[in-house]
């Protein structure tokens, strides 16, 4: 039954060999958009109540994956968002979380400006996240098409939480750039596979999402935002007053998102920030500390 292939002398070989050269053919980093994740090809993403999840709450996490995010996009998609989803499943800041992850790009320059996983109630989502394609493009045009994520929530999701119980889900966009002002008709047609009568402004896309989702944006203070945070905030704050947050350390995305959800659900902001250990508490406190000294209650 046994195997004894790894002997003491194999250690030198282990340390000398490079996993990339050895086994990348075995490794499936995506090299194009997977049709499963293409919003032009699926009709709707459903979040349904079930015996396991009688009070499902849809949560959409839409991260910028363009080149300006650099390694951050890679880290977020390979680890950060999976940690975040695990944290949400474990900590359950809302009842029965159903999470969808979307990858957002630039509708002007990207082959795949939007990809979206299914809604999942457990960690099996992790592998879908890893299968999203990091195109790494995005144009130097001072913005990304975050509105595509808003429109995705509005046009391509169907949730029991809202339709049966009148409860809103959560939608977070995450990135380092200003938001382009909406989507042109041809961009909507290409991304979503529908023929719209006209284009939509960023505010219109957002308003459509806000009918059934609590919408937030997190600015990662790296890449574009490291040098031009003012321009980024000037773009986001008028759209999402009190709901655009700046995160200094992208590795704390899990703590920040869970904190925002918990505060929105009515927990005290100070208590929530203090519930994290060590460095995370300070980063989260800073990110949410610039809020007015009142609880962030659902607006609607």
């Amino acid at each position: 039954m046994g195997m004894g292939r790894f002997s003491t002398t194999d250690w030198a070989a282990y340390n000398a060999r490079h996993v990339d050269g050895r086994s990348r053919s075995e490794v499936f980093g995506a090299t194009g958009i997977d049709p499963r994740f293409d919003p032009a090809r699926f009709a709707t993403r459903e979040s349904r109540d079930s015996a396991y999840n009688p009070q499902s709450t849809p949560i959409i996490l839409a991260s910028d994956v363009t080149g300006s995010m650099g390694m951050i996009a890679h880290e977020l998609m390979r680890g950060g968002l999976i940690t975040l989803t695990s944290e949400i499943y474990d900590r359950r800041p809302v009842s029965d979380p159903h999470i969808m992850v979307a990858a957002v790009g630039d509708a002007y320059t990207d082959t795949a400006p939007l990809q979206a996983t299914q809604f999942e109630a457990d960690i099996s989502l992790a592998s879908q996240i890893r299968a999203l394609w990091l195109e790494g493009n995005g144009g130097g045009n001072d913005g990304e098409s975050y509105s595509a994520a808003h429109l995705l929530a509005a046009l391509k999701t169907s949730t029991d939480a809202f339709e049966r119980r009148g409860r809103k889900g959560y939608l977070f966009t995450i990135g380092d750039e200003p938001v382009h002002n909406g989507l042109a008709a041809d961009q909507i047609a290409r991304i979503f596979g529908i023929e719209p009568p006209r284009g939509l402004s960023a505010r219109e896309c957002l308003a459509m999402a806000q009918r059934s989702y609590e919408v937030f944006h997190i600015v990662i203070r790296e890449g574009y935002a490291a040098a031009r945070l003012d321009r980024v905030l000037a773009s986001w704050q008028p759209l999402l007053p009190g709901r655009a947050f700046v995160l200094d350390d992208h590795r704390r995305i899990a703590e920040l998102v869970v904190s925002i959800i918990e505060i929105t659900e009515g927990r005290d902001a100070g208590d929530v920030a203090a519930s994290w250990s060590g460095a995370a508490a300070a980063v989260v406190a800073k990110a949410i500390g610039e809020r007015p000294k009142r609880r962030l209650l659902p607006f609607f």
Binding site: M1, G2, M3, G4, R5, F6, S7, T8, T9, W11, A12, Y14, N15, R17, H18, V19, D20, R22, S23, R24, S25, E26, V27, F28, G29, E75, R78, G79, G80, I82, T83, S86, D122, I123, S124, A126, S127, R130, R251
Partner: protein, 402 residues
């Protein structure tokens, strides 16, 4: 609604033909998922395909030639340092199984391997029969929450910090507890070298690209479940002769726990044994003999190795077999209906003059009738017998669960 699953369990010390039986069952159940219910990469289950391609399955389920997917349960110990090599070897044979894992499955680090090897080397001739792959050490470390590492932790941004912490805090504690004051040069070098962690992190990233995280709870969505146990009942941590045991439950216990989570209500358990007894590594072996009369032992898998020595032999002891299976079947089943049967393998290797023992009494058997006589004497229905290394050599009995 009832959900039925199959299980293959080694009745004695491993090497009973579990790989062969899993392959046979998987071939009969298209779209099956083979679930590793205990053990880790130290298992070695040989399958010879119909076309003669041969693979010793370590991580990956033995149903892969038959097209089955693989699932690592929460009891399986993952070994990212080794999975990709096995994956590549299988891929050369044209086999690319879907693999999923419960996020709770513990993960072996290079440091568990180093400690394991140092310990077995320090024991000299008194080795426990460990494979030197760090399996038991992984279980030991994971008993300490601050040093634990499970599959879902491989995603976490602080993986590097955790690994450094395991190396710098856990390794000295563990080595001191084991009374090891100095490591052999190769191990000391590997321990101190930062490259070891860097390579391991790269292996972990590649591991996650290959393995879908999937909770045991949703196992049945992946297909018809076939549990594949590793090692054998004689090596069970609670039943075997300490310290020559593996640190896991090798029989029904883990399967019943997984089945309960997954909503499986009926389990058909095939206990596999050769028509003689083998033991690889140290530990008691009743009736051990240098050579078995009447048996032409063929075993290319168990070539002698540095960590476990050669394959040891004894006549099949029906008393031991009866005791081991009865004890396993006496476990609390938590409402899951269990049917059990016996599979007797390697009958092609038995010749005239072949015999088994029952509580010391020697019983010569005719190889052609041996399987059903053994099953009768053990008190289990005969579900399968094998007359060679391939699935086509397995005869399933009509009353078998399949």
């Amino acid at each position: 609604m009832s959900t039925r699953a199959q299980a293959v369990i080694g009745a004695l010390y491993g090497d009973e033909g579990k790989g062969l039986m899993v392959d046979r069952l998987a071939a009969a159940a298209p779209g099956a998922v083979v679930v590793r219910s205990n053990g880790g990469a130290q298992a070695g289950h040989t399958v010879v395909g119909p076309a003669g391609r041969r693979h010793v399955f370590h991580h990956i389920g033995s149903g892969s030639f038959a097209g089955a997917a693989t699932h690592f349960s929460r009891f399986f110990v993952a070994h990212p340092m080794l999975l990709l090599d096995e994956s590549a070897a299988l891929s050369q044979l044209g086999v690319k199984p879907e693999i999923s894992s419960d996020p709770r499955a513990p993960v072996t680090t290079p440091f568990d391997v180093i400690i394991n090897q140092a310990l077995e080397l320090a024991r000299g001739a008194a080795r426990h029969g460990s494979c030197g792959l760090g399996f038991g050490e992984t279980i030991e470390r994971n008993l300490h929450p601050e040093f634990a590492l499970s599959t879902k932790d491989l995603f976490r941004p602080d993986l590097h910090t955790r690994l450094v912490f395991i190396r710098d805090a856990w390794v000295p504690i563990r080595l001191a507890a084991l009374g090891i004051t100095a490591l052999p040069a190769e191990l000391a070098t590997a321990l101190a070298d930062d490259t070891t962690i860097a390579r391991f992190e790269a292996d972990c990233a590649a591991y996650l690209d290959r393995v879908t995280l999937w909770p045991d709870r949703r196992l049945c969505e992946r297909g018809t479940v076939i549990f594949e146990a590793a090692q054998g009942l004689g090596l069970d941590q609670d039943r075997g002769a300490f310290p020559h045991v593996t640190r896991s439950n090798t029989g029904l216990a883990n399967m019943l726990a997984i089945a309960a989570e997954a909503g499986i209500t009926e389990l058909d358990a095939t206990y596999a044994t050769r028509c003689y007894t083998t033991r690889h590594g140290a530990g008691p072996l009743k009736g051990e003999v240098p050579a078995l009369p009447g048996v032409n032992v063929v075993d290319p898998t168990n070539a002698p190795n540095e960590w476990q020595g050669r394959l040891r032999l004894a006549p099949l002891d029906l008393g031991l077999l009866r005791e081991a299976t009865t004890r396993d079947l006496s476990l609390d089943r938590g409402g899951i209906a269990v049917r059990a049967g016996l599979a007797v393998t390697c009958l092609d290797q038995a010749e005239d003059g072949f015999a088994v023992t029952d509580c010391g009494e020697v019983m010569p058997l005719d190889p052609a009738k041996a399987a059903s006589e053994i099953a009768d004497l053990v008190g289990l229905p005969l579900w399968a017998e094998s007359w060679g290394p391939r699935r086509g050599d397995v005869r399933l009995r009509v009353d078998a669960a399949a």
